[in-house]
Symmetry: C2
Subunit: 350 residues, 2 copies
């Protein structure tokens, strides 16, 4: 573990100067302060205890969290429910690509006196993601896995299990051709779910060539290109990588005159509060977000105490609602003609 | 959550009788007690709190644990270090196939008043393994993964990471043909490591057809059949699924006149205390067993508190010792002739 002395020696200044620079004293020049921070990161220095209390940072990106119906809300609550009684204060800091380019992760943490962080919603091309390969300041990433760094941990749900449960349930309902629609594969978790889908199909002996899935960053591409293609293949059930996409697919099916679940079963992922209120109510693979927040705090406090947790996953749960039913005798494509023909009239739903 | 009343109703007896049967009172017949236990398991009853304190059970099979140099010793210590200050007593119970056939897992737990269990060393064909698909009494399994049961959790190290680190390190040392020797694939963890080996080879663009690995329950088969085959293929490094196998391979190489690491690098798995004392000292992928024990208690207490942990993995660490070195200009097979020819003189090492 690097110390303030290591930083002082490397820069040829006194330990007192390093201490002042790290604590933000005003009699240290901004240039020196920047050098101290950069050197601190370089030698692998991270704070053990702060003069002004124990502070954690919860970074959040690409994720709504302001109201109880937002995905991030309960994760934050769960994290705070554990962190605050343990004597930590928690700052919630919105993150974007630009701010990540401005300040490296570890500099930000040192500058602001944080002992560790939980990061929600980062995608694989976020600038900080690469920094986590070598960072020393404890970081727990929700739905992102950093290999070979004992200062980082991945928390989330067991997506393989969620997918297995769903395919198993659909197979029991008589579905043999199951499709998958996914958001872009530039996120770790979309990659995990995509692989999990095909692993589950293979496990249950169902047809599983690549054409049973489609992915895109754009809802419109999923609706206009992949959905008609899956219907033409004769799928009788579609799993979607997240609930908003599943909901949009249901709306499109209404337009196409396809009955859910009579002709097509739909399952989402995450079990957002909205699932109970869609028409019909949407079946979904639940992520228990309160428990994720709590577990994330456990993982972070373990990292801070030197227990190198790599991965902490919670069991998934399939919440069955009316959007799934027995497989129809004939797939939707046989009754409504090929969906391809209807493409020109399509409007984007999202 | 099923209650004593559910059991009483199902059997047509009073709640008092159920309570007496569960607490082992002597005025309940053995037949009735057995019915109560079986019904308790059937309705999914598990104890919340015991009259005589909070008891946990640590089952252990196929694993030495009596002395500090044994694999299981530190796991037990770590588990106790967390459990006992939290007010639990821990019984260590050796397990075998016969005792598992005698009493189902949940009946054993209820009969003996245990709130939850940690299970070490079970293999996939152990009778209890199948019962964990539907059990209700919290169970944490070291190195065994039970899908779709929120009352079970899997703890261990991140074997994929350990394998990635090892293959990466060997590749940096110039090795391009890497072999793998494994114990029988009837254990979950051997399957995980086997897949991880090939995943790592693919990741680093190294030759990865199935013939680069060999597995057997018997050391002799690894030494007489697979080792010569790998050497004939021109491998310059061999990873073994556990340290005892790696040690035996090193001894055999001495007999064959193959220099380690001059002609062949060897890496084990687990980092048993013996690794520091072999000739040469054996590089190995460490499992931090004390931390595994501590994490197992966390997972168990989470399950007991309703946080459905599925998987808790610790970071792996490659401990580099003298058994690995730069890849030789020529593989061992070129200098010592084909090893196949020497097969008849071979004696088993284990």
């Amino acid at each position: 573990m690097a110390t303030m002395e290591d930083i002082a020696k490397k820069l040829g200044v006194t330990k007192g100067t390093v201490s002042k620079a790290l604590s933000g004293a005003t009699d240290v020049s901004e240039t020196l302060r920047k050098s101290v921070l950069e050197t601190a990161v370089e030698v692998g220095y991270s704070r053990n205890r702060l003069p002004n209390g124990k502070k954690l940072c919860l970074f959040i990106e690409n994720m709504a969290y302001a109201s109880p119906s937002d995905f991030g809300y309960d994760i934050i609550i769960g994290f705070r429910q554990m962190a605050e009684p343990a004597g930590f204060s928690v700052d919630v800091v919105p993150l974007d690509t630009i701010s990540q380019k401005d300040v490296p992760y570890e500099e930000y943490m040192l500058q602001n006196g944080y002992l560790g962080a939980l990061l929600l919603g980062l995608s694989l091309n976020d600038p900080w993601i690469r920094q986590f390969n070598k960072s020393h300041t404890p970081a727990v990433l929700y739905d992102n896995y950093i290999q070979v760094n004992p200062s980082t941990a991945y928390v989330g749900i067991d997506n393989n299990e969620g997918m297995t449960m769903t395919v198993s349930c659909l197979k029991e309902l008589g579905h043999t051709k199951i499709g998958y629609l996914s958001g872009a594969l530039g996120s770790y978790i979309n990659q995990v779910r995509y692989s999990a889908f095909f692993r589950s199909l293979r496990k249950f002996g169902l047809p599983h060539d690549q054409s049973y899935a489609g992915n895109s960053y754009y809802f419109s591409e999923c609706l206009e290109k992949h959905l008609p293609r899956l219907l033409d293949k004769g799928v009788t059930a579609i799993i979607c990588s997240h609930d908003l996409l599943a909901h949009t697919v249901m709306l499109r099916c209404h337009e196409l005159g396809i009955q859910i679940p009579g002709q097509l079963s739909i399952v989402g992922f995450d079990d957002l509060p909205l699932c109970a209120y869609t028409a019909p109510p949407l079946s979904s693979i639940r992520q228990d977000r309160l428990q994720i927040g709590k577990s994330a705090f456990y993982a972070l406090s373990s990292l801070m105490n030197g227990t190198p947790i790599s991965t902490l996953l919670l069991h998934a749960k399939l919440i069955q609602r009316e959007s799934i039913g027995p497989a129809p005798a004939k797939p939707a494509s046989d009754e409504s003609g090929t969906c391809e023909e209807q493409r020109p009239t399509v409007q984007e739903e999202s």
